[in-house]
């Protein structure tokens, strides 16, 4: 038998307490204004030329907001998909394998798009 205190010290079976749940909320809150800004940006860029779009994304304010949007979006995607996989994939090995694949894909997608924004901003 473990005491409740012992369980709390070990932060439960996930070993991270409520961190994952909390970060999902934090990122969703931050993504609310960022996504609204992005919808505004995409609409105002509809039909815009290559040069106009580059100027917009390359503008310091927009580039920083894009980087924030990218980082938070892929953090939130990873957190959300992780919960779905943890709920429904039975076998431990395939569960961990799929989680690692999702995590890797999210990191790569975030790095690729972040790098693209930086390249637009600095060249």
């Amino acid at each position: 038998m473990r005491t409740p205190l012992g369980r709390v010290r070990g932060l439960g079976s996930a070993k991270s307490g409520t961190h994952h749940w909390w970060m999902q909320r934090v990122t969703s809150l931050a993504l609310l204004p960022l996504t609204l800004w992005f919808v505004y940006a995409v609409i105002s860029l509809s039909g815009a030329s290559f040069a106009q779009t580059r100027n917009f994304i390359g503008h310091p304010v927009n580039a920083v907001l894009m980087l924030a949007l990218i980082g938070l979006t892929f953090h939130h995607i990873n957190a959300g998909l992780q919960v779905v996989v943890e709920d429904y994939v039975r076998a431990e090995r395939s569960r961990i394998g799929i989680l690692l694949l999702i995590r890797g894909a999210c990191w790569l997608a975030a790095l690729i798009s972040g790098f693209a924004v930086l390249r637009v901003a600095f060249t």
């Binding site: 609310l32 994304i57 894009m66 995607i77 959300g80 429904y88 039975r90 798009s113 693209a116």
Partner: protein, 148 residues
């Protein structure tokens, strides 16, 4: 074990706090719910819309990489986005994004302790559905006015 797995079976390989393996029941699955109830339907749609929106971020990555690569690749993205299939995907994305956003705000209210009563839950669920339709139409009206 050739028969389809029963969701009530304790077939989920989990771990106890001390790390020892334990078989647990699976989370309630699609077939465990009445799909037309406001509670379960909205919950399932929130997950489904999250997954769909996740997949759609491929377009964001493609768009940004093309923008960084040059006018040629960017023209290809522009061509796809303004094609029939591209517009259909973007429209679907708009529906999914507004739904996930509004349903997410509903979840946030629950996290803060509001709206748990059955009537309030029904009202907020209907508000999410109506809001999704209204905001999707509004978004596309504005987009088409700017575009054309």
């Amino acid at each position: 074990m050739s028969h389809p797995p029963d969701p009530r079976q304790a077939a989920f390989a989990g771990r106890r706090t001390d790390g020892s393996p334990v078989q647990r029941p699976l989370s309630p699955h699609l077939q465990a719910y009445d799909m037309l109830q406001m509670t379960s339907a909205m919950s399932i749609m929130h997950r489904a819309s999250g997954i769909a929106w996740s997949l759609a971020t491929v377009l964001l990555v493609w768009w940004l990489v093309a923008l960084a690569s040059g006018p040629g690749p960017f023209a290809t993205v522009q061509w796809f986005m303004s094609s029939f299939i591209g517009l259909l995907v973007l429209f679907g994305m708009t529906v999914v994004a507004w739904f996930h956003t509004l349903a997410g705000i509903r979840h946030m209210a629950w996290d803060l302790g509001y709206g748990f009563s059955l009537p309030a839950m029904m009202r907020s669920g209907q508000a999410v559905l109506v809001g999704t339709a209204a905001l999707t139409v509004l978004t596309w009206v504005i987009a088409l006015v700017v575009w054309l």
